[in-house]
Symmetry: C2
Subunit: 338 residues, 2 copies
């Protein structure tokens, strides 16, 4: 296919200097009308376009924000993205997303790619592998170069930057308290590995609610599903070999799968076993029964992250990093007893 013509090619073709071409295309008064007409006509004919990237290198700001998320299948991340886009759009910023696919290497590559002049700053949620390895050098390096980063949801205390998180521990505590209040006593937690900060915080809230109610805390009632597997077999075994009357799940997909399994085993939801999930997505609204869930307010989280980032890009803010906490909301539907 045709290649775009460059300043250099125009200069060679018309036997003038590159600087003359550049000035002529900017309509500079230093250049004669005749020469300008000739150069401008030639540039038009061959589809010359000034390269924005080169321009933005000069002007420093690209007005682009890079977003790196672990996946685009989870409803939660897509709603955060919407919030980022809405706020950024209002402020005149464009948003580019890269997906780490839960891979450390991809997260690093995506960051390197965008850190080299394409974006003014990053909004990022750590990949599973990054949290597992506990290796944040790529983020520290970018911060060290003066490019601001805001972490959201999956964050690490080892990275000093602005953050937006959910009150995971408190809202998990509240959810379990609601189930205890409706008479449940054998409450299970279905979660991901503890190197996810969010899972670890939710587990703490879960345990605290059980202990505060003077119920027995039984570690066997915690099912940890590996993030890469479907987990269907593990779920079946778990519900077959334990007596459980309520379940807190750290995302809606786990909750939908578990409800499906127990209903196939002949149990009634919520009478025999009640469920609360995290993420108030479309799955929760149309499952049978409809799933009670913790709304994480992804859009608000995204807007907040974008605001923190753009503040830091545009103003000479000091190094006192801020952590904004979004409060989750428990939405009760048919999978819990009211």
């Amino acid at each position: 296919m045709k290649k775009r013509v460059t300043l250099k090619q125009i200069a060679r073709e018309l036997e003038v200097s590159v600087s003359t071409v550049s000035k002529a295309l900017k309509n500079s008064e230093e250049i004669s009308r005749d020469t300008k007409d000739k150069i401008q006509a030639f540039a038009k004919l061959y589809n010359y376009r000034p390269n924005n990237i080169a321009l933005s290198l000069k002007n420093k700001n690209t007005k682009n924000i890079g977003v790196i998320i672990p996946d685009i299948v989870h409803h939660f991340f897509t709603t955060v993205f919407r919030g980022i886009e809405q706020y950024a759009g209002k402020k005149g910023y464009n948003v580019m997303i890269c997906v780490s696919d839960e891979s450390f290497e991809k997260e690093v590559l995506n960051m390197e790619l965008l850190a080299n002049g394409s974006v003014d700053g990053f909004i990022l949620s750590l990949s599973a592998e990054t949290q597992e390895r506990n290796d944040y050098n790529h983020i520290k390096e970018v911060l060290g170069q003066g490019i601001p980063v805001v972490l959201f949801d999956r964050v690490s205390k080892d990275v000093l930057c602005d953050k937006v998180i959910l009150n995971d521990q408190e809202i998990a505590y509240e959810a379990v308290k609601v189930m205890i209040g409706s008479g449940k006593t054998k409450i299970a937690l279905v979660t991901t590995e503890n190197y996810f900060n969010v899972s670890s915080n939710r587990a703490q809230g879960f345990e605290k609610a059980i202990r505060d109610a003077n119920l027995a805390f039984d570690e066997n009632l915690i099912l940890t599903l590996p993030y890469q597997s479907e987990g269907d077999e593990l779920i079946r075994d778990f519900f077959e070999s334990n007596t459980i009357d309520a379940v807190l799940c750290v995302n809606e997909i786990f909750a939908i799968k578990c409800m499906d399994v127990v209903q196939r085993q002949g149990k009634r939801v919520p009478e025999d076993i009640s469920f609360i999930g995290f993420t108030n997505g479309i799955l929760s609204k149309y499952s049978t029964p409809r799933l009670s869930t913790v709304a994480q307010h992804g859009e608000r989280m995204g807007e907040t992250a974008a605001k923190l980032l753009i503040d830091r890009i545009e103003n000479d803010v000091d190094d006192n990093f801020r952590t904004e906490v979004i409060s989750g909301t428990l939405i009760q539907r048919d999978s819990t007893i009211n």
Copy 2:
């Protein structure tokens, strides 16, 4: 926050020319050991990094692909993205996504942004508004600049480029035939506006199957839902005021909503009314009853699009544009009678 130091700043600070700094950082033998040591130490201290964007301007290829999709909430687009990423990753390309949010203006802006040197080519699915306006100048302009574009799923015959589509008409025909085969005669279509090429093609397959079976074709049994509304009210009215025993829906969200409405009206699925949707997403697998659906093989579509694009980026292919057709697969679950 700290700003990155530039070649120019290093030169000024050390009172040497920019070209000396550049050569010293590349360890050129033209520069004395002493000067190189001094410049390299300074660059290290102030976090100097060569700008990859500038490098890639020189080398022409950015090894980036820009993907523009209408939204990231629909399962289908996320699976296409996965397919693109997998193929591109193997070939050493990075993928950046922008979301048009069904807006013409955003699609144009995103394209302009990336067309100016950030990517080697585009993979794009048209926004609702773009299809409605039937305005493709932004895409034609990019193609005219010699940047290849591959359209997928939502395409237009008015744009000459490589395309990947589903056999929408044929697979819709097949789905309706299955419902007729199980004794259904009053079959409805729940769809989006006809300016979506996919909806228009599916509607043609739908009508043809009904006429070929010598059933009466009733235009009142076509419900067109506006893409911006929830449509709940329209769905309720539609099923209250018409006698319907089977429904083809152009996406899984419509199907889930419709099944929900008719079950609340006391009808049994599939005995009284059977359903087939498009998009074999997670919603279809966990709905009650489980939804029979047309798998659109999004990953394969994405891989095919990436292959077409990278072929065109890397080889001097001629202007005979190709259209690859992916065959949908009907997956029968509990919402149809087997």
